[in-house]
Symmetry: C2
Subunit: 138 residues, 2 copies
């Protein structure tokens, strides 16, 4: 089941990784990144991702995850699907159970995009001293 429906950005494709604060994110990059952040834009999905990542062995089955939440199984299944289609996790069936594990490259990429600029680079400390009379102080 793993990567049958290739996610827009997955462990295979590693496009833009530049920090957001370094140069203006091009529209195409934004279109690629937004679905990743959207996948994390929910408390339950954040916890699911964390639970899977922290689980012993690096993976956990749905039944384990289900126990941590006060919702129905379809709801958990829905959120796992969102994470999977975003490329953040992969699933594998072994016997009766389905196991999920994280794709650390994707998380690393998201982390890198948000990373602060290494201190002391261009545009960092410069105050817009004479900006009172002109909007675009360029």
């Amino acid at each position: 089941m793993n990567q049958e429906l290739l996610p827009a950005v997955g462990p295979d494709r590693v496009p833009c990784c530049e920090p957001l604060v370094r140069e203006p994110l091009p529209p195409a990059g934004a279109d690629e990144l937004a679905p990743l952040f959207k996948a994390l834009a929910d408390p339950m999905r954040l916890r699911l991702l964390s639970l899977v990542a922290c689980h012993d062995g690096g993976e956990s089955c749905v039944c384990d995850l289900l126990a941590a939440f006060d919702v129905t199984a379809p709801s958990v299944s829905y959120h796992l699907k969102v994470l999977r289609e975003a490329g953040l996790i992969s699933s594998e069936r072994r016997g009766t159970w389905v196991y999920y594990r994280v794709n650390p490259e994707v998380m690393a990429r998201m982390s890198a995009v948000l990373a602060p600029r290494p201190a002391g680079l261009a545009g960092e400390g410069r105050l817009p001293s004479g900006a009172q009379d002109r909007p675009g102080n360029a």
Copy 2:
């Protein structure tokens, strides 16, 4: 205008920063983080954030930002509000223009939460060897 309506998580309050993959994110932490990721869950907001961050002087006025998009002013204003209420950016009026700048601490926190576990720690390489017959290999 800056921080009048205190965001749930802003530059002032710096709660959980642990990497997601290190220990299970508690529900409260997930509730705090999700709105931050939700604020970035849109291509336009990602670009807005990047544009503001990269702009000379560390800030830019709405008129500059507006020029970069093919939408109406209310739409840009709406997305800036989303970013502002999440605590990712702050606004300040100077004369006719309103300037936005990023809150780097918040971005740094999000980056830290997604950061990979420093290689070679517990649970990293352990394969679920005998997991065929038991779901929770704990």
